[in-house]
């Protein structure tokens, strides 16, 4: 069994003639906990979508679990929490129904959801602490609660790799703590590999094992301590960036102001 979960080699992608990814190479190994940092428009979300097979790169190689990305069929092995994942619209659907969507994808076209699927759905609800609201309509929930629902949907499939695109957006401080604690547990206890797109420097400094700084190409790859020192972030964002003294703060992009 290969140890490589994601392998990108010299991936290039352009939209309407504008380069979004230029020769991006990266490796995600089993049990990795990786954060991707970068300014807006750096290609972070696009990179995740390339891994998910939503965008086809114009050049380069994508391998997932050792298989060529174009021929990778076991997509349920990759859990995905999109940006603004909680925007489910206002059509009626209960929390349980939405979370079951993750399991439906795993079950495939012809298999009905069985007892083990329902167990996994309930387990995902429990992990996010939303069992009690399982039968409430999603449209009646707060933004933070909806975000938890989206994360539970990704977990219901029992993924080996979890891709999260600014997934802590909309969570309050307690919710963030639960969220990052859950990611750490999944990573440590179940060996789930995690790729987290974030602007949360506090989380990067305290939680992840590796950081990739992206600005259309990989600007830096290494440990979080190295990433946060010697003005690397200022270089990445093209403006002075102050790493917050306290954890949990966001990247400050404007020079001369601290939050």
């Amino acid at each position: 069994m290969t140890d490589s979960v994601v392998s990108l080699k010299d991936v290039c992608l352009a939209f309407n003639g504008g380069a979004v990814l230029e020769g991006v190479s990266l490796q995600v190994r089993r049990g990795d906990f990786l954060a991707i940092l970068g300014p807006n428009g750096a290609g972070k979300t696009t990179l995740l979508k390339v891994i998910l097979g939503l965008y086809k790169p114009q050049a380069g190689e994508v391998r997932l679990f050792g298989v060529d990305g174009a021929h990778f069929r076991e997509r349920y092995r990759i859990g995905y929490v999109p940006q603004k994942a909680g925007a489910f619209g206002d059509f009626p659907a209960t929390v349980w129904e939405v979370v079951s969507a993750g399991r439906i994808a795993r079950a495939g076209l012809w298999r009905r959801l069985g007892a083990s699927d329902k167990e996994e759905i309930n387990r995902a609800l429990g992990m996010l602490g939303i069992t009690e609201i399982a039968h409430r309509p999603v449209r009646a929930l707060s933004g933070g609660q909806r975000q938890r629902v989206a994360i539970a949907r990704a977990l219901a499939a029992g993924p080996e790799l979890l891709l999260l695109d600014e997934a802590a957006e909309g969570l309050d401080a307690a919710g963030e703590e639960v969220f990052y604690g859950l990611l750490e547990r999944l990573n440590r206890e179940q060996g789930v590999s995690i790729v987290l797109v974030t602007h949360d420097i506090g989380a990067v400094s305290r939680r992840v094992k590796r950081v990739i700084c992206l600005n259309r190409r990989v600007v830096f790859a290494g440990g979080p301590e190295e990433c946060l020192e010697n003005g690397k972030l200022s270089l990445l964002y093209g403006t002075p960036v102050y790493v917050p003294a306290r954890a949990g703060r966001r990247v400050q992009k404007k020079s001369g102001r601290r939050r």
Partner: protein
């Protein structure tokens, strides 16, 4: 003689119930995907199919079916590949379809009094063969929706997520577009070009107001569709009204009553 003793009325009721069942079943997924005008756009294009059938001296129903199915796939292709905003695309298609239909109607002979039937439906003139055709189309449409129900739900919730999760979105979407086109073709006989969109959407809007779950919404929308058709036919018979508009207006009236009750309860809670 009692109205139920007339074959034409029994066929009208049977065809109406089939339409009342199929339209909201498809409508739930269209409304959830914010694609409500899809049925309306196809129905407007259908007028061109009807006129084309008359000009070519072929069965208008068969030509309409072919035109609607072809248009459905063309619209979906434009939405997927050319990245049009769905609402703008459907508004354009609707206007183009109606314009083409009117031009073809003006060039064809033999429309005469039938035009009203095509525009507003002609349940009372449905023949036994028509009814068999409608039953077959509804069976295919309902069977496809039940077969792909779970996947249609996931796609309706979030199409990009469905693709990322490895669902066969293109296959399911293709099947659904075909089903939507068949349903529109069926509904044209019941409520006509101008009211088909309403029979697809209004029962769903009623169901959305009173449900918490997706499954409940589907069940309520179908029940509402059938009830509205039966109620509308009854109103049409009692008040001597055209059945298509009676069905749609009854649906809109029910929706209005639900919204008024909701607002009343809201104001009570605020007080």
């Amino acid at each position: 003689m009692d109205i139920w003793g007339y074959g034409f009325f029994i066929r009208a009721v049977a065809a109406g119930v089939l339409c009342g069942f199929a339209c909201p079943l498809v409508g739930v997924f269209l409304v959830a995907r914010r694609y409500s005008f899809f049925a309306d756009a196809l129905a407007h294009i259908a007028l061109a199919g009807v006129a084309l059938g008359i000009i070519l001296n072929l069965s208008p129903h068969v030509i309409t079916l072919l035109v609607v199915v072809g248009a459905a796939f063309a619209v979906e292709w434009l939405r997927q590949r050319r990245r049009f905003h769905a609402d703008a695309l459907l508004a354009t298609v609707m206007a183009a379809g109606l314009s083409l239909g009117v031009i073809l109607v003006s060039k064809s002979r033999g429309f005469g009094a039938d035009l009203t039937g095509f525009l507003f439906g002609s349940l009372l003139t449905i023949s036994p063969i028509d009814l068999q055709m409608i039953a077959l189309l509804v069976l295919v449409a309902a069977g496809t929706v039940f077969l792909f129900y779970k996947h249609l739900f996931v796609i309706a919730l979030d199409e990009e997520y469905a693709r990322a999760a490895g669902l066969k979105v293109t296959l399911v979407n293709t099947a659904f577009i075909l089903v939507a086109a068949l349903t529109v073709a069926v509904a044209l006989r019941a409520v006509g070009v101008l009211l088909t969109g309403a029979l697809v959407v209004v029962p769903v809007l009623i169901a959305v107001r009173v449900n918490r779950s997706f499954r409940g919404t589907v069940a309520t929308a179908v029940a509402a569709g059938i009830t509205l058709v039966l109620g509308g036919l009854h109103v049409a018979y009692v008040a001597d009204l055209p059945p298509g508009p009676a069905i749609v207006l009854l649906g809109v009236a029910v929706l209005a009553v639900i919204i008024i009750i909701e607002e009343f309860y809201k104001s009570l809670r605020r007080a």
